[in-house]
């Protein structure tokens, strides 16, 4: 009887251990899903930064009107940028926090895709992919830094004009607008660099536009 119970416990343990080691996602990831996801985020971010720059120009052009609605529209544009950029900023921060482990996860996913050609190309271009990862990491880090300054500049401008609506046409506010525009354009450049790098990776892996959106 005791031997039977032992055997029963052993079999149960094997079954339970089997369950515990099951992978959270059985199906392999779509080819280039990490590349596609980051490309989509970078493209969205670029669009949002462009929209904020248009709003900034429109606000600058309203100098002399002292209109509350112009300020409200600008304030909404700043809020939009804060909210819509949240996901890409979170990805950038996670990349920085996890470092190489973040990209190792991308590579692991590439090694798990069902498409044999993509897997082989990923193996063959391992070195170049590593270099691309490093450049993306560096561009992302720089972009994140410039974005912080840009957003702070927009918020600072909003507070300045809220305190004194007549200051919109002043020399000091014009300088604030100019600086903010330069920083926004710098963010756009960083995002373009990231997209170019992702395009290069997609080409290395012969991923189609439908797979990456690039």
């Amino acid at each position: 009887m005791a031997a039977f119970l032992c055997a029963l416990v052993l079999v149960s343990n094997l079954i339970l251990c089997g369950c515990a080691t099951e992978k959270p996602a059985d199906a392999g990831p779509a080819p280039g899903s990490g590349i596609a996801e980051y490309a989509q985020l970078a493209k969205d971010a670029s669009k949002n930064v462009r929209a904020s720059l248009v709003a900034l120009d429109r606000f600058a052009g309203s100098a002399g009107h002292n209109s509350e609605s112009d300020l409200a529209a600008f304030s909404r544009a700043v809020q939009d940028l804060q909210v819509k950029s949240q996901t890409v900023r979170a990805h950038a921060q996670a990349m920085e926090a996890r470092g190489d482990a973040y990209f190792a996860n991308w590579e692991t996913n590439l090694a798990r895709v069902k498409d044999v050609q993509v897997r082989e190309l990923a193996e063959r271009h391992h070195e170049e992919l590593q270099q691309s990862f490093q450049r993306i990491k560096s561009d992302t880090q720089q972009g994140r830094g410039v974005f912080k300054v840009y957003l702070a500049g927009l918020r600072g401008l909003r507070v300045t004009v809220e305190k004194d609506p007549a200051s919109l046409g002043s020399e000091s506010t014009t300088e604030l607008i100019k600086k903010a525009r330069e920083q926004g354009e710098q963010v756009e450049k960083q995002l373009d660099a990231i997209l170019a790098e992702l395009r290069g990776m997609a080409a290395m892996l012969k991923l189609s536009k439908s797979q990456t959106g690039l």
Partner: protein, 166 residues
């Protein structure tokens, strides 16, 4: 009267902090921390807890202005509750889920840090001369929408990691 040696040892250990004049020290090792269960039902409960906490946070954002200067504190408290619910949720994930979804978890962590930056923005804007009501309005609007974006990511990542389904 004979005093057992074991009792003397115990007494010495118990009184040592008093003699030594230091802070009392528990003479035994602390018990190991109780690990949260990682069962599917525990995960589902924790997942629902995070979702409803986002709802509470958004609720506090829409009513914050009616609390006057206290509005900031109300939103802050709800945000801390969200952080707590999310930390509890992470404790229910299996080692496999934590490893497989390490990037997603790091992104969700970073997302909460970014939401928290809104509170710093409020402080900076007020210090720069913005009225507290206007700064609070901005904080509430940004946080309400941004927490919704974070929740979408949370839902998507949880589905990817098969939270509560394995």
């Amino acid at each position: 009267m004979r005093i057992p040696v074991k009792s003397l040892c115990g007494l010495t250990v118990a009184m040592w902090p008093v003699f030594a004049g230091s802070q009392p020290v528990w003479p035994y090792a602390p018990p190991p921390p109780i690990a949260a269960p990682t069962t599917p039902s525990a995960q589902r409960n924790a997942f629902n807890g995070v979702k409803s906490q986002v709802g509470w946070l958004q609720n506090s954002c829409s009513t914050a202005t009616s609390y006057g200067d206290g509005g900031y504190g109300v939103i802050w408290q709800q945000f801390q509750n969200l952080r707590g619910a999310y930390a509890g949720f992470k404790n229910t994930l299996t080692p496999q889920q934590l490893s497989y979804g390490a990037n997603e978890i790091a992104e969700l962590d970073a997302g909460l840090d970014i939401l928290q930056e809104s509170f710093n923005n409020y402080q900076e804007d007020v210090a720069a001369g913005q009225s507290t009501s206007s700064a609070l309005n901005n904080l509430a609007q940004v946080l309400s929408r941004a927490s919704g974006v974070w929740l979408q990511e949370f839902n998507r990542d949880s589905a990817r990691l098969r939270v509560g389904q394995f």
